[in-house]
C-alpha cells in the first residue's frame, strides 16, 4: 500500500506535477514531515533523474534520484568527495567536527577500521543473548491495553541500550546518548530547529563526558567497545587531544546507531498497521522476520539522503556537474525506483531480494553498523510475536521535520497481549 494517507495531508504544499521542473526543490523539510516528498521524487525519477536546483535554503544542488545512478555516485569516491560535508547543508567552518564518514581516503579507511570490530558479525553474536534479555525486559514492562508512545517506550529505549553497550557507556546515564544524538541531527544543515551556537554548547558537554571515559579506557586493557578500540589503536590513540575530531567521531557513532534503528523500529509498527495482510503473513510464518527486517529498512529509508561534493568536472548521464557542486543522493527516492524494485510502493515482507536496497549506502562509506540494526529489529520482532497478539495504531504518527532523518516522534499505540 502506498502512503496515500500521508498524501491527503499535503495541504498547502504545491502539486509537484503542476510546477516547472526547474522550480522543484526537494530540500524543504516540510515535504518530508507531511509525506509530500513521494510525488516530488516520482516526478524527478520520471522526468529529471539528474536534476539541478538553482536556488534553495541550502544553496544550489544536484539531485540524483534513481537507484543505479545513486550506486554509481556513491561508489565513485575518487570524484565525489565526502570531505567535511555529507548532508545537503554546509556546516559552518567554525562548527566543523571531522568524523570518518566525512573524510576521504586514506584517513577515512584508517579510522573506520579501528572501530569496525565493535560491530562486526563475530562480535555481535557475542552480544545477541544480552540484547535479547534487554528486549524481553522492555517488552515485559510495557503497559498493555492503554495508549503509549511506541517511540519512547520501545524504539528509543532499545536503541539507547544497544548504543550504551557498544560504547560500554554508564548504563544509568544512557539517556544522554539519544539526547546528544537529537541535538546533533537538529542542525540547520538539514532543516532542523536548533542554532549552531546552542548545538555547539550542548555537544561540548558530550565531549567532556566522553573524554573522561576515554581516560578510564586508556588506563585499562583493550576491550571491544568503541572508546577502548580508539584509545588503544596507535592510529587513533591521540584523537582525544583533538576535541573536534573526537567529538565528530562520537557524533557519527551515536547518530549512526540511534535515529536509524529507532526509526526502523517505529516504522515497522506503522507499516504493520497499514498492511494488515502482511502482519497476518508474518504471524503465519515467523521465519519471514529477517526478510521483513530488510523490507522495513528499505521502505522507511531512515536516512533520506547523503551528499557528495564533485572534486572535478564530471559529465554524468549528459549533465555537466562542475567541480565544487553539491550532489545529493536521495536514497529515499532510489528505494522506490520502479526500474529496479518491483512494485516499490508496496510493503511486502516476503519480497524477493529484499536486501537489495540503498538504505545503508554503497561504496566505502556503506553503513558499518548495518548488522547491529538488523539484529535489533530481528530480535525485537521475534519477541513481539511471542507476547503480543497485535500492536494497534491509536492515532496518526507524527513525523520528524527534516530532509535527512526519516523518522517519527510519536507513534501512539495500544499493545494487545496474546
Amino acid at each position: 500500500m502506498a502512503d496515500t494517507a500521508a498524501l491527503d495531508d499535503i495541504g498547502e504544499i504545491a502539486d509537484p506535477w503542476a510546477m516547472a521542473l526547474e522550480e522543484i526543490d526537494v530540500s524543504r523539510p516540510e515535504l518530508y514531515s507531511t509525506g509530500a516528498h513521494w510525488e516530488y521524487f516520482r516526478r524527478l525519477r520520471k522526468e529529471a533523474p539528474v536534476h539541478y536546483c538553482k536556488d534553495s535554503e541550502f544553496g544550489p544542488y544536484w539531485s540524483v534520484t534513481r537507484f543505479k545512478d545513486i550506486v554509481a555516485i556513491d561508489s565513485d569516491h575518487r570524484r565525489f568527495s565526502s570531505h567535511n560535508h555529507i548532508v545537503i547543508g554546509d556546516q559552518p567552518e567554525e562548527f566543523l567536527t571531522p568524523m570518518f564518514i566525512a573524510m576521504d581516503q586514506p584517513k577515512h579507511d584508517v579510522q573506520r577500521k579501528v572501530v569496525q570490530p565493535a560491530v562486526a558479525p563475530t562480535q555481535l553474536s557475542e552480544l545477541e543473548d544480552l540484547i535479547r534479555q534487554r528486549v524481553c525486559a522492555i517488552l515485559d514492562n510495557l503497559p498493555v491495553n492503554e495508549e503509549i508512545n511506541w517511540v519512547e517506550h520501545v524504539s528509543k529505549e532499545l536503541t539507547t541500550q544497544m548504543l550504551a553497550t557498544l560504547f560500554d557507556f554508564p548504563f544509568e546515564d544512557r539517556h544522554l546518548l539519544p539526547y546528544w544524538s537529537d541535538i546533533a541531527t537538529s542542525s540547520p544543515a538539514v532543516g532542523g530547529g536548533l542554532d549552531w551556537e546552542e548545538r555547539d554548547r550542548i555537544l561540548g558537554e558530550c565531549y567532556q563526558y566522553f573524554a573522561q571515559l576515554w581516560q578510564e579506557r586508556a588506563a585499562q586493557p583493550k576491550k571491544f567497545d568503541f572508546i577502548s578500540l580508539l584509545a588503544h589503536d596507535p592510529a587513533t590513540a591521540e584523537m582525544v587531544n583533538d576535541p573536534k575530531e573526537f567529538l565528530g567521531n562520537l557524533i557519527l557513532l551515536i547518530v549512526g546507531g540511534n535515529d536509524t534503528t529507532r526509526n526502523s523500529i517505529s516504522a515497522g509498527i506503522v507499516e504493520m498497521n497499514r498492511n494488515p495482510e502482511e502482519f497476518a503473513k508474518l504471524k503465519g510464518d515467523p521465519s519471514l522476520i529477517p526478510n521483513m527486517v530488510s523490507e522495513i529498512i528499505r521502505y522507511q529509508t531512515p536516512l533520506g539522503h547523503m551528499r557528495r561534493t564533485a572534486l572535478e568536472d564530471v559529465d554524468f548521464n549528459g549533465h555537466k556537474i562542475r567541480k565544487g557542486d553539491k550532489v545529493v543522493m536521495w536514497y529515499i527516492s532510489g528505494n522506490r525506483d520502479e526500474e529496479v524494485i518491483d512494485n516499490p510502493d508496496e510493503f511486502l515482507i516476503d519480497r524477493d531480494r529484499a536486501r537489495h536496497h540503498l538504505s545503508f549506502g554503497f561504496g566505502i562509506h556503506r553503513c558499518m553498523g548495518n548488522r547491529v540494526g538488523e539484529m535489533q529489529l530481528r530480535i525485537l520482532w521475534e519477541e513481539i510475536l511471542k507476547r503480543f497478539d497485535r500492536i494497534e495504531l491509536a492515532g496518526d504518527p507524527e513525523r520528524v521535520l527534516s530532509n535527512f532523518v526519516m523518522g517519527y516522534t510519536n507513534v501512539p499505540v495500544i499493545v494487545r497481549p496474546l
Binding site: V71, A72, D74, S75, H77, Q105, D109, R112, K113, Q116, A120, P121, T122, R353, R355, H356, H357, F360, F362, G363, I364, R366, M368, N370, R371
Partner: protein, 106 residues
Amino acid sequence: MAKITYIDHSGEAREIEAKNGETVMETAIKNSIPGIDADCGGACACATCHVYVDEAFMEKVGQPEDMEQSMLDFAENVQANSRLSCQITVSDELDGLKVTTPESQH
C-alpha cells in the same frame, strides 16, 4: 561453461554448471547458494559477496582492482585469497573453481 563448487562455512559443497560471462556471484544467486548476500547486485560496492578462492585458482582468478580492494578492506576475516565474487567472471579457464563462503557477510 565451467563447473564451480561453492563450499559453505560448515563444509557443505554445492557444484554448479556456470555460464561463461556471468559472475561467480550471479551464478550463486541464480542457484540459491547460501552465504552470499550480494546486496549491491554486482556493482562492487558492498562486500557482501565475499568468498575465499581455492589456492589452486588464485593465479587464474587474478588480483582485485582498486575499488574491490577498498571494499574488501571493510569485510570481516579477510585473507590473502579473499575476493568479491561479483568481480570474478566465469570462463572455461575457471572450470573446477572452488570457492568457500565466510561464516557471515558484513
